[in-house]
Symmetry: C2
Subunit: 200 residues, 2 copies
């Protein structure tokens, strides 16, 4: 099923088609497909090409590992995320490998690579749903994430479920109209707050 | 010209074609095209759908504004970025609009939206080069960025120059082979450091 964004200006198909699914089919994601998804993150740009991202995943068939990540999610996210084929935690290296100094752009670059991940997943018919709602301290413990690295976001990946196959409650949430700020609320020219007539 | 990433696994065309140009043609970017580029960022996902991103841009024809942003860049970036049609600074809202609490994912989500921006630019034949090398304090002053918002990255946007039209020095940098870590260096299963045979 398609949940095309109601765009105000044309955008590329995979950007328009991306959304955050709230339910997944039982179909597993094979590792060749998984390699293609992560290959997209691999080619994201980053400050000094540091690539300060890592991803720790658990496949649903690997029950202990899967439940370990599921346990880190907020109860609200656990409900739908337990149907995902893959759960994962993205991780940011907080300092530069080259100098040991704080990398101000670590989270920025992890987010950027994660966006590439989400779009490549979309291109392959998969859906990726990122979550801020998880316990970073618990994730660090469960996944043995070392000092100097920070758990950034949780993610559910899988083949999205058609809303007609969802429970009534999930379907209602899935079909809720998608909304965003207007361009004029976040694109300015020359200085903060100065709007551009064609981008309003 | 194409600078296709030497991928180890197939990825979508616009992800493979994206790169960070180090030189731009004199062609301006019209505002309809610009609206399409920002529309892509608009539809990026974010924590609580807060969309904590903003972008302040200056067109090269608008010399004072353009030079204002150019002045914020490190000298190394000024050299090539001055040929861009557009310079901009991305900005992160550091707290949640809904609660006033710190948004741990502000930079993450700005990076994510900026990745969408870069890919949409690529789809339109443009190039976007992000830079960590700029002075955030100066950018705040020059662009009147209010408290509660943090300058995140600088960006140059425009139609990329063909390397054969660059100076010898720029061409050499532009044609340098692109490199990334191996998948096995940043994708783990079950716990930190545990590699996946098919993703090595």
């Amino acid at each position: 099923m398609d949940r095309l964004a109601p765009v105000g200006h044309p955008v590329h198909d995979i950007i328009r088609a991306r959304y955050s699914p709230r339910g997944f089919s039982e179909r597993a994601v094979d590792r060749h497909t998984l390699a293609c998804v992560f290959e997209a993150a691999r080619w994201a740009p980053s400050s000094f090409n540091e690539q300060p991202w890592a991803f720790i995943l658990a496949e649903r068939a690997d029950k202990d590992a899967f439940d370990g990540i599921l346990d880190c999610l907020t109860p609200g996210n656990q409900g739908w995320a337990q149907t995902a084929a893959i759960l994962m935690i993205s991780v940011a290296r907080t300092t530069f490998e080259r100098s040991g100094k704080i990398n101000r752009h670590a989270f920025h670059d992890v987010g950027l690579a994660s966006g590439f991940l989400a779009l490549q997943a979309t291109a392959l018919g998969l859906g990726l749903h990122m979550m801020a709602g998880f316990d970073p301290g618990k994730a660090r413990e469960v996944l043995s994430i070392p000092e100097g690295f920070d758990p950034a976001a949780a993610m559910a990946l899988g083949y999205p479920l058609d809303p007609e196959d969802m429970s009534a409650e999930a379907r209602e949430k899935a079909l809720k109209p998608r909304s965003r700020k207007a361009l004029g609320d976040f694109v300015f020219a020359r200085r903060w707050g100065e709007k551009i007539p064609e981008l309003s």
